[in-house]
Amino acid sequence: MKLHAQDVSVARGGVSVLEGLSFELCAGEALVIRGPNGIGKTTLLRTLAGLQPALKGRVDAPEDSIAYAAHSDGLKTMLSVAENLRFWADVFGTSDISSALESFELTDLQHRLAGSLSAGQKRRLGLARLMVTARPIWILDEPTVSLDKAAVALFATAVKRHLAHGGSAILATHIELGLEANVLELSPYKTVAGSAVLSGQDEAFL
Protein backbone atom coordinates (compact mmCIF):
# COMPACT_ATOMS: atom_id res chain seq x y z
CA MET A 1 0.00 0.00 0.00
CA LYS A 2 1.85 2.97 -1.24
CA LEU A 3 0.72 6.49 -1.96
CA HIS A 4 2.80 8.37 -4.46
CA ALA A 5 2.45 12.04 -5.37
CA GLN A 6 4.43 13.33 -8.30
CA ASP A 7 4.90 17.00 -9.13
CA VAL A 8 1.40 17.78 -7.86
CA SER A 9 -0.12 21.25 -8.09
CA VAL A 10 -3.40 21.94 -6.36
CA ALA A 11 -5.92 24.73 -6.80
CA ARG A 12 -8.55 26.23 -4.54
CA GLY A 13 -11.42 28.06 -6.20
CA GLY A 14 -9.59 27.99 -9.53
CA VAL A 15 -6.46 29.62 -8.06
CA SER A 16 -3.31 27.54 -7.84
CA VAL A 17 -2.04 27.45 -4.23
CA LEU A 18 0.68 24.77 -4.15
CA GLU A 19 3.06 23.68 -6.88
CA GLY A 20 5.55 20.93 -7.55
CA LEU A 21 4.86 18.69 -4.57
CA SER A 22 6.34 15.21 -4.71
CA PHE A 23 6.40 12.62 -1.94
CA GLU A 24 5.95 8.98 -1.24
CA LEU A 25 4.24 7.24 1.62
CA CYS A 26 4.90 3.55 2.29
CA ALA A 27 3.17 1.13 4.60
CA GLY A 28 3.84 1.85 8.26
CA GLU A 29 4.82 5.46 7.63
CA ALA A 30 3.21 8.67 8.76
CA LEU A 31 3.56 12.05 7.11
CA VAL A 32 2.82 15.24 8.98
CA ILE A 33 1.91 18.23 6.85
CA ARG A 34 2.68 21.66 8.25
CA GLY A 35 2.18 25.15 7.00
CA PRO A 36 0.56 28.45 7.94
CA ASN A 37 -3.21 29.03 7.58
CA GLY A 38 -4.38 29.33 4.01
CA ILE A 39 -1.34 27.63 2.49
CA GLY A 40 -3.55 24.85 1.11
CA LYS A 41 -3.31 21.96 3.57
CA THR A 42 -6.99 21.08 3.28
CA THR A 43 -6.90 21.52 -0.49
CA LEU A 44 -3.92 19.18 -0.73
CA LEU A 45 -5.57 16.57 1.47
CA ARG A 46 -8.83 16.75 -0.52
CA THR A 47 -6.82 16.26 -3.70
CA LEU A 48 -5.03 13.25 -2.22
CA ALA A 49 -8.35 11.81 -1.10
CA GLY A 50 -9.64 12.12 -4.66
CA LEU A 51 -12.34 14.67 -3.92
CA GLN A 52 -10.89 17.15 -6.38
CA PRO A 53 -8.54 16.73 -9.32
CA ALA A 54 -4.94 17.94 -9.17
CA LEU A 55 -4.20 20.95 -11.35
CA LYS A 56 -1.01 19.26 -12.56
CA GLY A 57 0.88 16.10 -11.75
CA ARG A 58 -0.57 12.87 -10.47
CA VAL A 59 -1.46 11.09 -7.27
CA ASP A 60 -1.17 7.31 -7.35
CA ALA A 61 -2.80 5.24 -4.65
CA PRO A 62 -4.21 1.73 -4.75
CA GLU A 63 -7.94 1.75 -5.39
CA ASP A 64 -10.20 1.88 -2.33
CA SER A 65 -7.32 2.39 0.08
CA ILE A 66 -8.00 5.86 1.46
CA ALA A 67 -10.08 6.87 4.46
CA TYR A 68 -10.53 10.61 4.70
CA ALA A 69 -11.46 12.60 7.80
CA ALA A 70 -12.37 16.20 7.15
CA HIS A 71 -12.84 19.19 9.46
CA SER A 72 -16.43 18.14 10.02
CA ASP A 73 -17.06 14.66 11.31
CA GLY A 74 -20.06 13.73 9.18
CA LEU A 75 -22.13 12.72 12.18
CA LYS A 76 -25.89 12.52 12.20
CA THR A 77 -27.11 14.22 15.35
CA MET A 78 -30.32 12.21 15.41
CA LEU A 79 -28.51 8.86 15.38
CA SER A 80 -26.84 7.30 18.40
CA VAL A 81 -23.07 6.89 18.62
CA ALA A 82 -23.29 3.18 17.80
CA GLU A 83 -25.74 3.79 14.93
CA ASN A 84 -23.42 6.35 13.39
CA LEU A 85 -20.49 3.94 13.49
CA ARG A 86 -22.56 1.00 12.30
CA PHE A 87 -23.67 3.01 9.29
CA TRP A 88 -20.08 3.61 8.25
CA ALA A 89 -19.17 0.01 8.98
CA ASP A 90 -21.97 -1.10 6.63
CA VAL A 91 -20.89 1.36 3.97
CA PHE A 92 -17.30 0.14 4.09
CA GLY A 93 -18.36 -3.50 4.35
CA THR A 94 -16.95 -4.19 7.82
CA SER A 95 -18.82 -5.32 10.90
CA ASP A 96 -16.78 -4.73 14.04
CA ILE A 97 -17.47 -1.42 15.77
CA SER A 98 -16.63 -2.42 19.32
CA SER A 99 -12.85 -2.07 18.97
CA ALA A 100 -13.30 1.41 17.51
CA LEU A 101 -15.62 2.34 20.40
CA GLU A 102 -13.09 1.03 22.92
CA SER A 103 -10.09 2.75 21.35
CA PHE A 104 -11.73 6.13 21.72
CA GLU A 105 -13.45 5.36 25.04
CA LEU A 106 -16.91 5.71 23.57
CA THR A 107 -18.35 2.42 24.83
CA ASP A 108 -20.23 4.08 27.68
CA LEU A 109 -21.66 6.67 25.30
CA GLN A 110 -22.75 4.32 22.55
CA HIS A 111 -26.49 4.68 23.13
CA ARG A 112 -26.40 8.47 23.40
CA LEU A 113 -27.56 10.54 20.44
CA ALA A 114 -24.59 12.06 18.67
CA GLY A 115 -26.29 15.44 18.93
CA SER A 116 -25.99 15.36 22.70
CA LEU A 117 -22.21 14.83 22.69
CA SER A 118 -19.67 17.52 23.46
CA ALA A 119 -17.40 18.82 20.71
CA GLY A 120 -14.51 16.66 21.89
CA GLN A 121 -16.67 13.56 22.11
CA LYS A 122 -17.99 14.20 18.60
CA ARG A 123 -14.44 14.47 17.33
CA ARG A 124 -13.56 11.18 19.01
CA LEU A 125 -16.53 9.57 17.29
CA GLY A 126 -15.43 11.07 13.97
CA LEU A 127 -11.96 9.57 14.45
CA ALA A 128 -13.38 6.23 15.56
CA ARG A 129 -15.05 6.13 12.15
CA LEU A 130 -11.59 5.75 10.57
CA MET A 131 -11.08 2.49 12.39
CA VAL A 132 -14.29 0.90 11.12
CA THR A 133 -13.40 1.75 7.50
CA ALA A 134 -10.53 -0.79 7.63
CA ARG A 135 -8.71 1.22 5.00
CA PRO A 136 -4.90 1.32 5.05
CA ILE A 137 -4.24 4.99 4.26
CA TRP A 138 -5.69 7.56 6.64
CA ILE A 139 -5.86 11.17 5.52
CA LEU A 140 -6.58 13.39 8.49
CA ASP A 141 -7.32 17.09 8.40
CA GLU A 142 -6.63 18.73 11.77
CA PRO A 143 -7.65 15.59 13.69
CA THR A 144 -6.93 16.96 17.16
CA VAL A 145 -9.18 20.02 17.06
CA SER A 146 -11.29 20.23 20.26
CA LEU A 147 -9.62 17.16 21.78
CA ASP A 148 -8.21 17.38 25.32
CA LYS A 149 -4.84 15.96 26.32
CA ALA A 150 -6.18 12.54 27.23
CA ALA A 151 -8.11 12.27 23.98
CA VAL A 152 -5.05 13.34 21.98
CA ALA A 153 -3.16 10.52 23.67
CA LEU A 154 -5.94 8.06 22.70
CA PHE A 155 -5.74 9.30 19.15
CA ALA A 156 -1.92 9.01 19.07
CA THR A 157 -2.19 5.44 20.32
CA ALA A 158 -4.76 4.61 17.65
CA VAL A 159 -2.52 6.05 14.92
CA LYS A 160 0.51 4.17 16.24
CA ARG A 161 -1.43 0.92 16.29
CA HIS A 162 -2.64 1.59 12.76
CA LEU A 163 0.96 2.17 11.60
CA ALA A 164 2.17 -0.94 13.40
CA HIS A 165 -0.43 -2.97 11.50
CA GLY A 166 1.02 -1.80 8.20
CA GLY A 167 -1.25 1.18 7.68
CA SER A 168 -0.10 4.68 6.89
CA ALA A 169 -1.35 8.15 7.67
CA ILE A 170 -1.11 11.68 6.38
CA LEU A 171 -1.92 14.27 9.02
CA ALA A 172 -2.28 18.01 8.86
CA THR A 173 -1.65 18.99 12.46
CA HIS A 174 0.35 21.37 14.62
CA ILE A 175 0.29 19.20 17.71
CA GLU A 176 3.20 16.94 18.59
CA LEU A 177 1.77 13.43 18.69
CA GLY A 178 4.98 11.62 19.49
CA LEU A 179 4.92 9.80 16.16
CA GLU A 180 7.98 8.91 14.18
CA ALA A 181 6.81 10.86 11.19
CA ASN A 182 8.32 12.65 8.28
CA VAL A 183 7.39 16.31 8.25
CA LEU A 184 6.41 18.05 5.04
CA GLU A 185 6.58 21.82 5.34
CA LEU A 186 4.39 23.34 2.63
CA SER A 187 5.73 26.92 2.56
CA PRO A 188 8.43 26.28 -0.09
CA TYR A 189 5.81 24.93 -2.49
CA LYS A 190 3.56 27.96 -2.29
CA THR A 191 2.51 29.27 -5.68
CA VAL A 192 4.25 32.57 -6.35
CA ALA A 193 1.65 35.32 -6.61
CA GLY A 194 1.19 36.51 -10.16
CA SER A 195 1.44 33.10 -11.73
CA ALA A 196 -2.02 32.32 -10.38
CA VAL A 197 -4.50 31.37 -13.04
CA LEU A 198 -7.91 32.93 -12.55
CA SER A 199 -10.49 30.81 -14.24
CA GLY A 200 -14.11 31.74 -14.84
CA GLN A 201 -16.38 32.09 -11.83
CA ASP A 202 -19.17 33.69 -13.80
CA GLU A 203 -21.82 31.78 -11.95
CA ALA A 204 -20.89 33.65 -8.78
CA PHE A 205 -23.56 36.29 -9.40
CA LEU A 206 -26.18 33.74 -8.40
Binding site: R46, A49, G50, L51, Q52, P53, D64, I66, A67, Y68, A69, A70, H71, S72, D73, G74, L75, K76, T77, M78, L79, E83, R86, F87, W88, D90, V91, F92, G93, R129, T133, L206
Partner: protein, 218 residues
Protein backbone atom coordinates in the same frame (compact mmCIF):
# COMPACT_ATOMS: atom_id res chain seq x y z
CA UNK B 1 -26.59 0.70 -0.17
CA UNK B 2 -29.20 -0.71 2.19
CA UNK B 3 -27.41 1.01 5.05
CA UNK B 4 -27.78 4.39 3.36
CA UNK B 5 -31.47 3.82 2.65
CA UNK B 6 -32.24 2.69 6.21
CA UNK B 7 -30.26 5.59 7.62
CA UNK B 8 -32.13 8.12 5.48
CA UNK B 9 -35.48 6.62 6.44
CA UNK B 10 -34.62 6.58 10.16
CA UNK B 11 -33.45 10.19 9.94
CA UNK B 12 -36.65 11.22 8.17
CA UNK B 13 -38.68 9.60 10.95
CA UNK B 14 -36.64 10.99 13.82
CA UNK B 15 -35.89 14.45 12.55
CA UNK B 16 -39.37 15.07 11.22
CA UNK B 17 -40.06 17.55 8.47
CA UNK B 18 -40.21 14.69 5.98
CA UNK B 19 -43.70 13.29 5.66
CA UNK B 20 -45.75 15.49 7.90
CA UNK B 21 -44.74 18.75 6.33
CA UNK B 22 -45.42 17.68 2.74
CA UNK B 23 -48.82 16.20 3.57
CA UNK B 24 -49.85 19.21 5.64
CA UNK B 25 -48.88 21.54 2.81
CA UNK B 26 -50.80 19.40 0.31
CA UNK B 27 -53.84 19.48 2.60
CA UNK B 28 -53.70 23.27 2.91
CA UNK B 29 -53.42 23.77 -0.85
CA UNK B 30 -56.44 21.51 -1.39
CA UNK B 31 -58.44 23.34 1.29
CA UNK B 32 -57.55 26.77 -0.06
CA UNK B 33 -58.68 26.04 -3.62
CA UNK B 34 -62.46 26.06 -2.89
CA UNK B 35 -61.96 29.35 -1.04
CA UNK B 36 -60.35 30.96 -4.06
CA UNK B 37 -62.47 29.51 -6.91
CA UNK B 38 -65.76 29.23 -5.06
CA UNK B 39 -67.61 26.21 -3.69
CA UNK B 40 -69.50 25.22 -6.88
CA UNK B 41 -69.16 21.44 -6.97
CA UNK B 42 -69.38 21.22 -10.78
CA UNK B 43 -66.39 23.52 -11.11
CA UNK B 44 -64.43 21.67 -8.40
CA UNK B 45 -65.10 18.34 -10.09
CA UNK B 46 -63.71 19.76 -13.31
CA UNK B 47 -60.49 21.13 -11.82
CA UNK B 48 -59.93 18.48 -9.11
CA UNK B 49 -57.38 16.29 -10.98
CA UNK B 50 -55.26 19.29 -11.94
CA UNK B 51 -55.38 20.84 -8.48
CA UNK B 52 -54.50 17.56 -6.80
CA UNK B 53 -51.55 17.06 -9.10
CA UNK B 54 -50.30 20.60 -8.65
CA UNK B 55 -50.66 20.30 -4.87
CA UNK B 56 -48.76 17.02 -4.80
CA UNK B 57 -46.02 18.50 -6.96
CA UNK B 58 -45.58 21.57 -4.75
CA UNK B 59 -45.62 19.42 -1.61
CA UNK B 60 -42.89 17.29 -3.15
CA UNK B 61 -40.86 20.42 -3.91
CA UNK B 62 -40.85 21.46 -0.24
CA UNK B 63 -38.56 18.71 0.96
CA UNK B 64 -36.15 18.61 -1.98
CA UNK B 65 -33.48 20.75 -0.37
CA UNK B 66 -33.19 18.24 2.46
CA UNK B 67 -32.12 15.44 0.12
CA UNK B 68 -28.47 16.43 -0.07
CA UNK B 69 -28.05 19.73 1.79
CA UNK B 70 -28.14 18.17 5.26
CA UNK B 71 -25.47 15.64 4.33
CA UNK B 72 -23.40 18.39 2.80
CA UNK B 73 -23.60 20.62 5.86
CA UNK B 74 -22.35 18.06 8.34
CA UNK B 75 -19.63 16.77 6.02
CA UNK B 76 -21.21 13.37 5.40
CA UNK B 77 -21.30 13.93 1.65
CA UNK B 78 -17.50 14.32 1.44
CA UNK B 79 -17.04 11.15 3.42
CA UNK B 80 -19.59 9.23 1.33
CA UNK B 81 -17.85 10.42 -1.83
CA UNK B 82 -14.59 8.84 -0.57
CA UNK B 83 -16.37 5.62 0.44
CA UNK B 84 -16.79 2.51 -1.73
CA UNK B 85 -20.33 3.52 -2.70
CA UNK B 86 -20.55 4.81 -6.27
CA UNK B 87 -22.13 8.28 -6.33
CA UNK B 88 -24.61 7.18 -9.02
CA UNK B 89 -25.98 4.63 -6.57
CA UNK B 90 -25.89 7.15 -3.72
CA UNK B 91 -28.08 9.65 -5.59
CA UNK B 92 -30.45 6.85 -6.69
CA UNK B 93 -30.84 5.68 -3.11
CA UNK B 94 -31.34 9.27 -1.96
CA UNK B 95 -34.09 9.71 -4.56
CA UNK B 96 -35.68 6.43 -3.47
CA UNK B 97 -35.61 7.49 0.18
CA UNK B 98 -37.20 10.82 -0.79
CA UNK B 99 -39.90 9.01 -2.75
CA UNK B 100 -40.64 6.66 0.14
CA UNK B 101 -40.88 9.50 2.65
CA UNK B 102 -42.65 12.06 0.44
CA UNK B 103 -44.08 10.45 -2.71
CA UNK B 104 -45.73 7.44 -1.10
CA UNK B 105 -47.54 9.47 1.61
CA UNK B 106 -48.77 11.85 -1.11
CA UNK B 107 -50.12 8.92 -3.14
CA UNK B 108 -51.92 7.63 -0.05
CA UNK B 109 -53.31 11.03 0.92
CA UNK B 110 -54.40 12.18 -2.55
CA UNK B 111 -57.62 10.07 -2.75
CA UNK B 112 -58.69 11.33 0.68
CA UNK B 113 -58.08 14.92 -0.39
CA UNK B 114 -59.90 14.12 -3.63
CA UNK B 115 -63.12 13.88 -1.64
CA UNK B 116 -62.72 17.53 -0.60
CA UNK B 117 -62.65 18.53 -4.26
CA UNK B 118 -65.62 16.39 -5.29
CA UNK B 119 -63.54 14.13 -7.52
CA UNK B 120 -65.91 11.77 -9.41
CA UNK B 121 -65.84 8.13 -8.22
CA UNK B 122 -64.21 6.71 -11.35
CA UNK B 123 -61.40 9.27 -10.97
CA UNK B 124 -59.89 7.90 -7.76
CA UNK B 125 -58.22 4.86 -9.32
CA UNK B 126 -56.64 6.92 -12.09
CA UNK B 127 -55.53 9.63 -9.70
CA UNK B 128 -53.65 7.02 -7.66
CA UNK B 129 -52.26 5.37 -10.81
CA UNK B 130 -51.04 8.71 -12.15
CA UNK B 131 -49.36 9.62 -8.86
CA UNK B 132 -47.75 6.19 -8.48
CA UNK B 133 -46.31 6.54 -11.98
CA UNK B 134 -45.42 10.22 -11.73
CA UNK B 135 -44.04 10.86 -8.24
CA UNK B 136 -40.87 8.76 -8.76
CA UNK B 137 -39.97 11.13 -11.59
CA UNK B 138 -40.54 14.10 -9.25
CA UNK B 139 -38.12 12.63 -6.69
CA UNK B 140 -35.44 11.75 -9.23
CA UNK B 141 -35.60 15.12 -10.99
CA UNK B 142 -35.62 16.80 -7.58
CA UNK B 143 -32.48 14.94 -6.56
CA UNK B 144 -30.82 16.21 -9.72
CA UNK B 145 -31.78 19.76 -8.75
CA UNK B 146 -30.51 19.17 -5.22
CA UNK B 147 -27.19 17.96 -6.62
CA UNK B 148 -26.95 21.08 -8.79
CA UNK B 149 -27.50 23.44 -5.86
CA UNK B 150 -25.65 21.57 -3.11
CA UNK B 151 -23.23 23.86 -1.33
CA UNK B 152 -25.10 27.04 -2.22
CA UNK B 153 -26.18 28.87 0.90
CA UNK B 154 -29.96 29.22 1.03
CA UNK B 155 -30.15 27.37 -2.29
CA UNK B 156 -33.76 26.33 -1.70
CA UNK B 157 -35.28 29.06 -3.86
CA UNK B 158 -32.78 28.52 -6.66
CA UNK B 159 -33.54 24.82 -6.44
CA UNK B 160 -37.26 25.49 -6.92
CA UNK B 161 -36.58 27.73 -9.90
CA UNK B 162 -34.38 25.09 -11.51
CA UNK B 163 -36.62 22.13 -10.80
CA UNK B 164 -40.10 23.52 -11.56
CA UNK B 165 -39.56 23.83 -15.34
CA UNK B 166 -38.19 20.27 -15.36
CA UNK B 167 -41.41 19.12 -13.69
CA UNK B 168 -43.59 20.44 -16.53
CA UNK B 169 -43.76 17.25 -18.67
CA UNK B 170 -44.52 15.08 -15.64
CA UNK B 171 -47.23 17.50 -14.55
CA UNK B 172 -48.82 17.68 -18.01
CA UNK B 173 -49.11 13.95 -18.50
CA UNK B 174 -49.81 13.16 -14.87
CA UNK B 175 -52.76 15.54 -14.56
CA UNK B 176 -53.94 14.66 -18.07
CA UNK B 177 -54.06 10.99 -17.04
CA UNK B 178 -55.96 11.87 -13.87
CA UNK B 179 -58.35 14.18 -15.77
CA UNK B 180 -59.14 11.66 -18.50
CA UNK B 181 -59.65 8.99 -15.86
CA UNK B 182 -62.07 11.23 -13.96
CA UNK B 183 -64.03 12.05 -17.14
CA UNK B 184 -64.11 8.43 -18.25
CA UNK B 185 -62.06 8.91 -21.43
CA UNK B 186 -59.35 6.58 -22.69
CA UNK B 187 -56.17 6.93 -20.62
CA UNK B 188 -53.59 4.86 -22.49
CA UNK B 189 -51.66 7.66 -24.21
CA UNK B 190 -50.94 9.88 -21.19
CA UNK B 191 -50.28 6.82 -19.05
CA UNK B 192 -47.64 5.52 -21.44
CA UNK B 193 -46.07 8.96 -21.77
CA UNK B 194 -45.97 9.40 -17.98
CA UNK B 195 -44.47 5.95 -17.46
CA UNK B 196 -41.94 6.70 -20.19
CA UNK B 197 -40.90 9.94 -18.49
CA UNK B 198 -40.53 8.23 -15.12
CA UNK B 199 -38.54 5.25 -16.38
CA UNK B 200 -36.43 7.53 -18.57
CA UNK B 201 -35.38 9.85 -15.75
CA UNK B 202 -34.86 6.93 -13.35
CA UNK B 203 -32.50 5.34 -15.87
CA UNK B 204 -30.59 8.43 -16.97
CA UNK B 205 -30.69 11.23 -14.41
CA UNK B 206 -28.69 9.52 -11.61
CA UNK B 207 -25.64 9.68 -13.87
CA UNK B 208 -26.11 13.40 -14.41
CA UNK B 209 -26.75 13.95 -10.69
CA UNK B 210 -23.58 12.06 -9.73
CA UNK B 211 -21.57 14.07 -12.26
CA UNK B 212 -22.72 17.49 -11.00
CA UNK B 213 -22.31 16.31 -7.41
CA UNK B 214 -18.71 15.35 -8.12
CA UNK B 215 -18.09 18.80 -9.58
CA UNK B 216 -19.85 20.55 -6.69
CA UNK B 217 -17.79 18.70 -4.09
CA UNK B 218 -14.49 19.99 -5.47
Amino acid sequence: MRALLTRDLILAFRAGGGFGLGIAFFLIVVILVPFSVGPSSALLTKIAPGVLWLGALLACLLSLDRILALDWEDGTLDLIATSPLPLEAVVSVKALAHWLTTGVPLVVAAPIFGVFLNLPPQGFVWLVVSLVLGTPALSVIGTFGAALTVGIKRGGLLLSLLVLPLYVPTLIFGSELARRGAEGQQVMTPMLMLAGISFGVIALLPFASALVLRINLR
